[in-house]
């Protein structure tokens, strides 16, 4: 690290966390910049939550080094870290009012009462819950509890905020709304957010950068565009968005070469069987499944060479819907093929 380079908020250097034989985190090296919105994306059991708990201090690395703002975190218990967590189940104290919950971090740090009350009121305003201070958490809706959990963490003005699938329990519409709000709050307060989710859409929508986890390892780190457009591995291609992995005979039928590649379903166009192949590659196939999804229809097409391809066709032209059993021609531009070295 050069002298001119800023110190990262969180730095993992070959961090491992093993539980007996289970390698929950298996050699993660990662820098999260100060002020960044960073998402850890992966399926359950991929090690993303364990990484978050390592930053919070609930877990200690089996090996490797974890630094917070350049300081090794090994000897720091959770209560000495300048880091706060929004828990998946919110973890609000049921025996305290909302205001007492939010004030908890300030109370235990012995912040004088007038300042405490001012900061609690401020942060409840920030999360747009000014009138619930005297209620108990049990009297709130899921969305309100989520905001209280956020307020309780933010009121301490931590340098890093950890969020463990905070929107997982909310319904879809509320989730979309909270995504926008969370992003806005992060930009307003300017602190580092480390956001754990298994929802790739959420990660793409909110993050400055994201890391994709699988089996305790980082598969790829990059901006949402980089990760979506240039997935580093077939796993990333498949987990972030949908993807067709093509190899062997099917690949030969589509490109003339057997080298494996991935291709996004929305890059494929459904064409008439005698459509001309201008500037695109084409392959013929048989529609074996067609699922209407509102905004688009998902087709599964069996192609020559044995494989199947998933195609996402938007309904801009309603007339192009093809029935199961129809012979179709699929077209795509060669630059959308992503060659993959290793296929899992």
């Amino acid at each position: 690290m050069g002298a001119s380079q800023p110190v990262p908020a969180v730095r993992f250097i070959d961090v491992r966390r093993h539980f007996g034989d289970v390698k929950a985190v298996d050699g993660v090296t990662l820098d999260i910049a100060d002020g960044e919105f960073f998402s850890m994306l992966g399926p359950s059991g991929s090690g993303k939550t364990t990484c978050l708990r390592l930053i919070a201090g609930f877990e200690r690395p089996t090996s490797g080094t974890l630094e917070l703002h350049g300081i090794p975190a090994a000897g720091l218990p959770p209560y000495e870290r300048d880091v706060n967590t929004v828990f998946q189940d919110y973890a609000l104290f049921p025996h305290m009012t909302v205001a007492e919950n939010v004030a908890y971090g300030l109370t235990v740090r012995k912040v004088p009462r007038p300042e405490r009350e001012r900061r609690v009121a401020e942060v409840l305003d920030l999360v747009r819950l000014p009138d619930v201070g005297r209620r108990r958490p049990a009297a709130l809706s899921g969305g309100q509890r989520q905001r209280v959990a956020l307020a309780r963490a933010l009121v301490n003005r931590p340098r890093v905020l950890l969020l463990d699938e905070p929107l997982g329990a909310l319904d879809l519409k509320l989730r979309r709304q909270m995504q926008t709000e969370l992003k806005a709050i992060q930009q307003q307060v300017g602190i580092t957010f480390v956001y754990v989710t298994h929802d790739q859409e959420e990660a793409l929508a909110m993050s400055d950068r994201l890391g994709v986890f699988a089996q305790g390892r980082l598969e790829q780190v990059g901006t949402p565009v980089e990760v979506y457009e240039n997935p580093a591995t077939p796993f990333v291609a498949d987990f972030v968005g949908l993807s067709n992995s093509v190899e062997g005979e099917a690949a030969r039928a589509m490109t003339g070469s057997a080298s494996p590649f991935t291709l996004r379903p929305e890059k494929l166009r459904l064409l008439g069987i005698d459509a001309p192949a201008e500037g695109t590659r084409v392959v013929d196939g048989l529609v074996v499944d067609a699922v209407y999804l509102g905004m688009h229809t998902k087709y599964v097409v069996e192609i020559a060479g044995g494989g199947t391809l998933t195609v996402m066709e938007t309904h801009r032209d309603a007339s192009t819907r093809a029935a199961v059993g129809t012979q179709v021609r699929l077209g795509w531009r060669p630059e959308h093929e992503r060659p993959t070295g290793r296929l899992s």
Partner: protein, 303 residues
């Protein structure tokens, strides 16, 4: 076949009938047998014993209560309530760490073994356990022997010489009564506290630490308040069981009476059923007051 089908159909069409069948027996039991005898007790306590004939006079008067509030009887009530309070406090202090360990750390076999260890004494007769304590605490018993081997008999002697709690040997002292009470009621304190602690999600404790609270602060502000209903439930057991017991003070105490012994004596040999009834109302009044205080302290808020 047909008969059972029409039965289930009847129950399906008349849900209240099903409810009545389910709730009827326990309600009859609690309502008639329990509340009925309680009422009989209250009524009896307003009768009084004619000192001359030795017959119960079935007329409502406060004579029995006048007799209850004499110095010697109040002494019995105070001694019993004091013992119950000390036993409850000690049981809570001894039970909490064990319950905490069982709820938070023990897993698998370790947890099963600990639960068994707590429950197993309840499988053997209460009398056997009380008499074993008499043997343990007797002048020739294992405790005296142990103090002797450690050349610490002087310590035991000085404890036994203490006023009020001492006596000729541990088995005939208030300390002995206390130890036996603490032992027999301990499981009733451990289990509710453990159950309460099991229901505290570990994320709450993590959240407290995450927000900057040291472990001691987390215990005081989160763990203890959330386990408090369990402590209160346990204390209701230990307190009321101590208030009503007559076997332990009779076996292991000095000759001063406890409420249970007084009730036994008055309704038995003395034939003074009204006074016995009045005595039983003392523990009930104390428990009622205790529950009211516990409720005001918010012990049942989290239920």
């Amino acid at each position: 076949m047909r008969a059972t089908r029409s039965w289930s159909r009847t129950l399906f069409l008349h849900p209240r009938l099903g409810l009545l069948l389910l709730l009827g027996p326990p309600l009859v039991w609690l309502g008639v047998v329990y509340l009925g005898s309680l009422l009989a007790l209250v009524v009896q306590s307003f009768f009084h014993l004619d000192g001359f004939t030795g017959q119960v006079v079935r007329q409502v008067s406060l004579d029995t209560y006048r007799e209850l509030f004499t110095a010697s009887n109040l002494d019995i009530a105070l001694r019993t309530a004091g013992m119950a309070a000390v036993v409850t406090l000690a049981a809570a202090v001894v039970a909490f760490p064990l319950a905490y360990y069982m709820a938070r750390y023990a897993r698998g076999t370790k947890k099963a073994v600990l639960t068994l260890a707590v429950l197993m004494p309840l499988w053997s007769s209460y009398l056997v356990r009380v008499y074993s304590w008499k043997l343990i605490l007797a002048k020739e018993g294992v405790v005296s022997w142990l103090f002797e081997r450690l050349h610490a008999t002087a310590i035991l002697e000085s404890v036994l010489n203490l006023p009020l709690v001492g006596g000729p040997s541990l088995s005939v002292s208030a300390i002995g009564t206390f130890l036996a009470f603490l032992y027999v009621w301990l499981p009733y304190m451990i289990l509710p506290i453990q159950a309460a602690l099991e229901r505290v999600p570990s994320s709450l404790l993590e959240a407290s630490g995450d927000l900057g609270a040291r472990p001691a602060t987390t215990f005081r502000r989160v763990t203890l308040p959330l386990a408090f209903p369990g402590v209160v439930a346990g204390s209701i057991f230990t307190f009321s069981l101590t208030l009503g017991d007559f076997i332990i003070p009779g076996t292991l105490g000095n000759s001063s009476l406890f409420i249970g012994q007084a009730v036994l004596a008055h309704q038995g040999t003395a034939g003074n059923v009204p006074l016995a009834a009045a005595f039983t109302l003392i523990p009930m009044t104390i428990m009622g007051a205790y529950l009211a205080v516990a409720k005001r302290l918010g012990a049942f808020d989290a239920l």
